[in-house]
Symmetry: C2
Amino acid sequence: MLPRLFLAASIVLLGFVGFSQARTTAKHAPVYTRDGQLRLPADYREWVFLSSGFDMSYNQDMAMDHRMFDNVFVNPEAWKVFQSTGRWPDKTVLVLELRRAEEKGSINQKGSFQTAEPMSIEIHVKDESRFKGKWAFFGFAPADSTAKMIPLTQDCYSCHAEHGAVDTTFVQFYPTLKTIATQKGTLEAGYQKNGQSH
Amino acid sequence: MLPRLFLAASIVLLGFVGFSQARTTAKHAPVYTRDGQLRLPADYREWVFLSSGFDMSYNQDMAMDHRMFDNVFVNPEAWKVFQSTGRWPDKTVLVLELRRAEEKGSINQKGSFQTAEPMSIEIHVKDESRFKGKWAFFGFAPADSTAKMIPLTQDCYSCHAEHGAVDTTFVQFYPTLKTIATQKGTLEAGYQKNGQSH
């Protein structure tokens, strides 16, 4: 189950032909197996953190038997481009890490902290020459190092297309990026039209 | 008010004399004003994310009129050293960013996401030659670019000394670091003795 697949980030490779530095720093581009599965980036915890959420759900009726954090990371190359343009470049990779929350532990008395093992990881990749619609989602179970693409018929695609504030991604939930997109004027017209409420 | 000051990270400068690479990459060391205030690192959001908490409190009686996230970042040099040793080097800088949480917004129906402005930022610095006890805390209001050291008489120092899992820092709440410290055998004896419950 993938309740909150989202987002995506990218590298400078195609967008900046002639900017040779970009080629050498494009080290966090998506990597695929021969049969088209995405490899989990080993170092995504060293990428740029965008935000975390707590027990977020887009469905009022959703019920869980546990509480949960989501942490979102983006590859540094895509972060740099978004900072200057408010847009995601090709080869953007957004990683959503879901972790179980605990309330009691050590000296914590109230509220929640994150625990040691991710419950799942979901990745949203922008790879323009590879995917119809430019973006694709992949879902990893805790022990998976590769994952198949989630079929285009799944709700995540239509939900992101309809509600994503920037280029099918949920920038509205990433505080620093939302500010940049607003300044750069890159928020989707549909998102703005609805008073940023959808 | 500084309910949850914590932690700390560091750079390789003094610990690795002779390792010249360390000198050139020690670019995230703490910087002070002439009168001893700490400067807020401008790029801390690009440092390594350790974890986030939600409404955490070490005091059962604490009441807030809002909900809140905390995000913790560490300078990359300290992260690298901790990964290989389970210990914080000199010049570790841990940044705790507090952000107001919202529940209703865009398509979110349940749970909480982070908003655009930090409520405050707290920094825990390891600077062995500068601070008695090696570590010091600094608290920044939202618009502050510098902050005075919090006096050693404040509770944050004694609480961290008593309860920190590694070197006065709350590694017990940082899922990836807790695993490393356990493997490297660097958890404080006092922390382990109490069944990791204090």
